[in-house]
């Protein structure tokens, strides 16, 4: 045990003096990540505000109809009306982003409405993620006009407008705020933490195995009386610890980022900060420890196998896909924690965290998650020990 601690202490000091490890462990989650949250939320919210405030450019092909609609649009300060265009010109102008929308009224629109029918109107628009707000605003212009026409029609027929309501439904959502929150953004927290945990352990693992092999320091270490398993456990501990520390730093980074961003609505800030309550964090950490050990085992095995730091990087970097995909799957609707998903590493952590945040975690399934992660961590350590014990691997390229 003393030898393991000696190796652990030395590897920790060595890793913490490595700039690459420090960048992945401290700079990215604590500086870059909050900065990205702040910038992206500011950009998103300022885009929404801009789209909501901007003057809508509406084209109107009335064909001598819908005088009320034209009046309504002209009276609004947030609409710039273009008339005297043909439907084809209207289409071209929308495509060229010169107009936000064009309304084309049927030549018989007024007659159709007067005959108590539905007047035909076409709306040309370009619906993309960027123009969703403009489309919604343009559509509401027509909705207002339709509402006005309906009121006029019912008044002329001396019918109370409320007669069209056949069902008076009251909507009551029984899901708690925590449950709603967990469903909407609960998967995001473990997703980010898992990614940071992996990237945080990546550089120390590469440096302490392939790096040492390449620099010739591993051979020096192997001439000491320390046993292979003792050396391995010391390194394994440091790689796992840096993964956990990076994940923790990323939580702090997330907290700072959200606190610093003044653009995010207060209710969203409260909702996200609510996820960062100590109980959730403690439970997430308890899942993260065996997961970090699992990562450490895999990363060290691959790193020992590689001849050089560069080769280890090229072997390990594509592995990110196997981390991101199951972590991302946990964000998708319809996938929930059950006896089967509890056995899938990474996905089980994301799903379990969602349920922990929602307060709906089933203790039996949670135990299954722990058991699966502990078994996998143990297996990865066994594989690592086997790799580290092989002469042809350790002295490969030396």
């Amino acid at each position: 045990m003393k030898t393991i601690l000696t190796v652990f202490k030395k590897e920790l000091v060595d890793s913490l003096r490595d700039r690459r490890t420090l960048v992945a462990m401290v700079f990215v989650p604590l500086v870059l990540f909050p900065l990205l949250i702040s910038i992206s939320s500011s950009m998103l919210i300022s885009h929404e505000k801009k789209a909501a405030r901007k003057t809508l450019r509406i084209g109107l092909v009335a064909n001598g109809n819908a005088a009320g609609f034209k009046e309504m649009l002209s009276a609004r300060g947030d609409v710039k009306l273009s008339e005297g265009i043909t439907p084809e010109e209207g289409r071209a102008l929308v495509r060229a982003d010169s107009l936000d929308a064009v309304f084309v009224f049927d030549a018989a629109f007024d007659e159709q409405v007067a005959a108590l029918g539905a007047g035909k109107v076409s709306m040309y628009h370009k619906s993309t993620e960027n123009s969703a707000i403009e489309k919604r605003r343009a559509r509401s212009l027509l909705d207002d006009f339709e509402k006005a026409l309906r009121e006029t029609r019912f008044a002329s027929l001396a019918i109370d407008l409320s007669i069209i309501d056949t069902v008076d439904m009251s909507d009551e959502n029984l899901a708690s705020t925590k449950e709603q929150l967990a469903d909407q953004i609960g998967g995001l927290l473990p997703y980010l933490i898992i990614i940071f945990c992996f990237t945080g352990s990546m550089y120390p693992a590469i440096d302490l195995a392939a790096g040492e092999k390449e620099r010739g320091t591993l051979e020096t270490l192997l001439t000491s009386p320390a046993g292979r398993l003792e050396i391995l456990l010391g390194k394994f501990g440091v790689v796992g610890l840096t993964g956990i520390l990076t994940a923790l730093v990323s939580i702090v980074g997330m907290y700072i980022g959200i606190r610093q961003s003044h653009e995010i609505p207060q209710e969203v800030v409260n909702a996200i900060l609510g996820m960062l309550e100590p109980t959730s964090i403690a439970l997430l950490l308890s899942l993260l420890v065996p997961l970090a050990m699992f990562f450490a085992g895999i990363l060290l095995s691959l790193s020992f196998f590689a001849k050089s730091f560069k080769e280890a990087q090229s072997i390990i970097t594509p592995l990110m896909v196997f981390i991101i995909v199951p972590a991302f799957m946990g964000l998708m609707p319809g996938i929930s924690l059950n006896a089967t998903t509890a056995l899938i590493p990474i996905l089980n952590v994301t799903l379990a965290t969602k349920e922990i945040i929602a307060g709906t975690i089933n203790s039996g399934v949670l135990l299954e998650v722990y058991a699966s992660l502990i078994v996998l961590a143990g297996l990865s350590l066994c594989v690592c020990r086997w790799v580290f014990g092989r002469e042809d691997v350790i002295f490969r390229g030396v």
Binding site: T6, V7, V13, D18, G216, T217, T220, T223, P225, A226
Partner: protein, 260 residues
């Protein structure tokens, strides 16, 4: 004392290597290559044993087996009466190993590295402090003891390597081509260290292909070529039976006369 008997080491080679080395002697049909092919020798305490041979002769593999970094395919190694295959950790407790390939941690200081290896050898703090002080003063290392290895010159690094190798006062010291690539002054430090180890009664084994070092240091000599010993005896015997005009010529003559 080191007693090596019929030591053999084969390595498995990849398919590509097998294709490339098809007509090379020593490559077996089973996809193995013999790096060391049944060598035997003895190294006595208080004497310097030099293992000489050209590149790829099997020197490093043999020394790595003595240092328990590699397991022999067959044969035996006894170090101070202990079986190296059965008790590798016990051997490493008594052994100091210095090679051109055993490097130091760039991000640690000489103080930290030496302390690390002392801790791995389980040295008591007071014993370590005394030994550290003695060696650092002897090799004039106190000025750079707290500077990181990455910032040191190769000579300074080599001094740290020397201290790292002998801090635990090993009874067996193995040097594998320790002066390769070093300047004259730094190489002299190593030569002095080897002599000092001999004076202290340690068993010293070193490999080299620099003939000057052989004549300067050797008490006993073995010449290894393609994994087999072509000479094994005292240096005086080697010198007395020389047919060439110099050690270099004699060395080449022996290699050329060796069975292929």
């Amino acid at each position: 004392m080191i007693v090596v008997k019929d030591l053999r080491k084969t390595f498995k080679i990849s398919r590509q290597q097998k294709r490339e080395m098809r007509n090379t002697p020593g490559v077996g049909a089973d996809g193995t290559v013999e790096a060391v092919g049944g060598i035997s020798f003895t190294c006595q305490p208080g004497r310097i044993f030099s293992l000489i041979g050209p590149n790829g002769a099997g020197k490093t593999t043999a020394l790595r087996m003595i240092a328990t970094l590699l397991k022999p395919t067959s044969g035996s190694i006894e170090v101070a009466g202990i079986d190296a295959v059965k008790h590798p950790q016990d051997i490493r407790r008594q052994l100091g190993f210095l090679t051109g390939t055993t490097k130091l941690y760039d991000r640690l200081t000489p103080n930290e590295i030496v302390k690390y290896y002392a801790d791995l050898h389980g040295m008591e703090k007071s014993v370590f402090e005394k030994k550290r002080e003695e060696l650092f003063t002897l090799l004039d290392m106190n000025d750079f003891a707290k500077r990181r290895i990455g910032k040191l010159s190769s000579g300074m690094r080599q001094k740290v390597s020397i201290v790292r190798t002998i801090i635990h006062n090993p009874q067996i010291v193995v040097f594998d081509e320790p002066t390769v690539g070093l300047d004259v002054i730094t190489a002299k430090n190593i030569i002095d260290l080897i002599r000092r180890c001999k004076q202290e009664g340690k068993t010293v084994i070193f490999s080299t292909h620099i003939m000057g070092e052989v004549s300067l240091l050797s008490d006993d000599t073995a010449i290894i070529h393609k994994g087999k010993l072509v000479f094994n005896g005292t240096y005086s015997e080697f010198a007395s039976q020389m047919q060439g005009r110099s050690i270099e010529e004699e060395f080449i003559r022996l290699l050329e006369g060796a069975p292929r």
